[in-house]
């Protein structure tokens, strides 16, 4: 295999996409995220620090993450709880400020945008949240919930135009136009998630962040929602950033996948590359932990250990305490991304040194 030792550099210019990929939805990145960091200060109050000599504490929720999202694709982030995937989702749509790094949306760096600048593009970025019980205002009628983006962004004038648009949106997501008169509590979880999707679509976005959109739903309802999301993606040429911890769902919906561990991306690749030829030991471990639903006789290897506390992450490669291939270098030095696959990379010393054989 082609082990090009293309060492990653933090500058965004070096992550240019290769032009020779044909089965990809597009070659232009919608988002180009470079060395993104978000640190949260969780220090004790000043007085405690002075009197009890407690140290400042910083959680590096996202610590230097770089990836591109191409037009029309579904890019997924997977990882265990606390790895920073939801933080990235919030950073990308501007619900959280970055500590440092760039978020380029169609060539424009939105990480440094002021509120006013952000407002101008916000209607093009939308989000679907995990819990359809918490993300809809229980006191609002569904038609008002869906119409809110239209009125806030001033996209349509006149009640009649808005009503028509809301009715179309409701039908778009498989509900009835008359359902607009109801309140959220009159709907089941799956129907509520449809309402969230209708609201997200209201402002005609190009890009939707889906933060665990089906993890609160039953599998049969999950199938309905995933099918709907795929249909809508085709119909409206949407680009998705999909966040999930369920690898089977991610495999089903994604074009490319990024695997996160403790605030960093350890591997990025197309779904086939990643699932058929996983490179990073953590990716392999996650794949091994997928339940063997079809009873193929594959033993599910229980993973050793748990995610360490993000307050005190391990030195070097954060995965080394759980990694079967770790050596002294892994404990000392954080691995740099090795771009050895199309539109992807792996950050692992063992892979880089050839200690861990990946087959071409």
């Amino acid at each position: 295999m082609n082990m090009t030792q293309e060492i990653y550099s933090a500058s965004a210019t070096q992550t240019r996409p290769r032009e020779d990929v044909s089965d990809m939805p597009s070659v232009t990145p919608v988002f180009r995220i470079a060395n993104l960091k978000r640190h949260f200060d969780v220090s004790p109050p000043l007085l405690n620090r002075l009197l009890e000599r407690k140290e400042r504490q910083v959680v590096k929720a996202v610590d230097g993450v770089s990836f591109d999202i191409y037009r029309g694709e579904t890019f997924s982030l997977v990882g265990e709880s606390g790895c920073g995937k939801s933080t990235i989702a919030k950073l990308v749509v501007g619900l959280n400020d970055t500590t440092s790094g760039n978020i380029e949306f169609e060539g424009e760096d939105i990480a440094t945008h002021s509120r006013q600048d952000m407002d101008a593009i916000r209607h093009r970025l939308q989000m679907i949240f995990q819990d359809p019980y918490a993300s809809l205002n229980p006191r609002w009628r569904v038609r008002n919930i869906i119409a809110e983006p239209l009125t806030v962004f001033g996209l349509l004038d006149g009640q009649k135009a808005i009503d028509e648009r809301v009715a179309t949106l409701l039908e778009c997501v498989g509900l009835n136009a008359q359902d607009g008169e109801k309140y959220p509590h009159e709907f089941s979880g799956g129907q509520r998630q449809r309402i969230s999707i209708a609201r997200a679509l209201a402002s005609n976005p190009e890009f939707i962040v889906c933060d665990e959109p089906t993890s609160a739903l039953d599998v049969s309802v999950q199938a309905q929602i995933l099918n709907l999301m795929k249909d809508l993606q085709r119909e409206f040429a949407l680009t998705y950033l999909f966040i999930s911890h369920d690898l089977s769902v991610v495999y089903h919906i994604s074009d490319r996948i990024g695997v996160m561990y403790l605030g960093r991306l350890v591997e990025v690749g197309t779904k086939h590359e990643l699932f058929r030829r996983p490179q990073h030991p953590y990716t392999r471990m996650l794949l091994d932990s997928i339940p063997d639903l079809k009873m193929t006789g594959r033993a599910r290897t229980p993973v050793g250990g748990e995610v360490p506390s993000p307050l005190d992450p391990p030195s070097g490669c954060a995965f080394h305490p759980r990694c079967p291939h770790a050596n002294a270098r892994c404990k000392r030095e954080a691995p740099r991304p090795l771009h050895n696959v199309e539109r992807g990379f792996v950050a692992c010393h063992a892979v880089e040194e050839g200690r861990l054989i990946t087959r071409a």
Partner: protein, 351 residues
């Protein structure tokens, strides 16, 4: 594994649970019968609202008003327990029936060390000195795979991670070696990687101690891995009961089949998932005949008028008229030859 001639640990027969409301009684559980043999893990699956947790609650005697058992019997090792007084039931819980709930943080008291809680539980049910109970607690923590149990026993629940907390809860449920454990979504709050560990611990301990387990979950992956038999519930009734491989690979009930097919898989690429149209009916408006008939792709006239009971077919029982009509001749279409992607990479890792 199920062909024990011994008395089942748990025997639920024709259980009915009703909720009295102003508009009359709502039937939440409508004639459920189950048996669990010693050392057996029975998985109970179904969508939210199917009545799986409610069945577990009734068995542990924790059903709250206005819910009540309106008919049927629950027997623990042949002895009726559904008509016991609250006080008698309280003594039974913990001693004979252990419980593991979804959220490990809420099932532990944050103000006491885990050792205190374990010792208290052991001494409530077994005549032991504090020292003996502590020794037993440490051994139990060791068995559930908690590292350094001698020191960690004196820590508080918040000092443990989610997976470790759930191990403590399992230790707590099993420390007096109950005959039956009701595990209600024990891994739902955990990460996939930790899930596998917890399932392995639960499975191993129940095998070793001959504990019968009722594993309530909506996660088919967990069932596939842990259960010996599976009961599929739909709208308060059993749709299908059978050995885990039969239910997963050769589902007899169209609902089970739809449920299985709607789960995304990494084994093959599909553009669209199979979906069951509509949603489960509300308790107040369960349709006549088979409750699944409005959503069933293969419903016929009889399904709309007559309610099917469990009918034996091969190794399973399914509440479906198709089974009786022997119309379901096609086998479930699982790809059996598809290569496992993880088997591929494992070879790579060892090379």
């Amino acid at each position: 594994m199920t062909a024990h001639e011994t008395t089942p640990v748990l025997e639920v027969s024709d259980l009915h649970i009703e909720f009295d409301t102003r508009r009359g009684a709502l039937k939440a559980i409508d004639g459920v019968s189950l048996q669990i043999a010693p050392g057996e893990i029975l998985g109970v699956v179904g969508e939210s609202g199917a009545g799986k947790s409610l069945t577990g609650t009734a068995i542990t005697g924790l059903l709250e008003t206005p819910g009540r058992i309106s008919a049927g019997q629950i027997r623990l090792e042949g002895k009726r327990i559904d008509n016991l007084s609250q006080e008698e039931m309280r003594r039974l819980r913990g001693r004979d029936i252990g419980a593991i709930f979804q959220d490990p943080l809420t099932s532990l008291n944050p103000l006491y060390t885990i050792g205190h809680q374990l010792v208290e539980t052991i001494r409530t049910h077994l005549p032991m000195s504090k020292k003996e109970a502590r020794r037993r607690a440490i051994r139990m923590l060791e068995e559930v795979g908690l590292p350094a149990p001698e020191t960690r026993i004196d820590q508080y629940p918040h000092q443990f991670s989610g997976g470790m907390r759930q191990r403590v809860v399992i230790a707590l449920a099993l420390c007096v070696e109950p005959r039956l454990v009701i595990a209600d979504e024990p891994t739902t709050a955990l990460d996939v990687s930790v899930q596998a560990q917890i399932i392995a611990v639960l499975k191993r301990l129940c095998r070793e101690k001959g504990t019968a387990v009722m594993l309530v979950t909506h996660d088919m992956g967990v069932i596939a891995e842990a259960a010996d038999r599976v009961a599929v519930m739909y709208a308060g009734r059993l749709a299908e009961v059978g050995p885990v491989t039969d239910v997963i690979k050769h589902a007899k009930h169209p609902y089970t089949r739809g449920l299985m097919n709607s789960i995304p898989t990494i084994l093959n690429d599909v553009d669209r998932l199979e979906q069951i149209e509509g949603s489960m009916p509300r308790l107040a408006s369960i349709p006549d005949g088979c409750a699944f008939n409005p959503r069933c792709p293969r419903a016929f006239s009889r399904c709309r008028t007559e309610r099917p009971d469990l009918i034996a077919v091969e190794n399973s029982d399914a509440a479906c008229w198709l089974v009786e009509e022997t119309a379901m001749t096609d086998r479930s279409p699982w790809p059996t030859s598809a290569p496992s992607p993880t088997a591929d990479h494992r070879r790579g890792a060892n090379a």
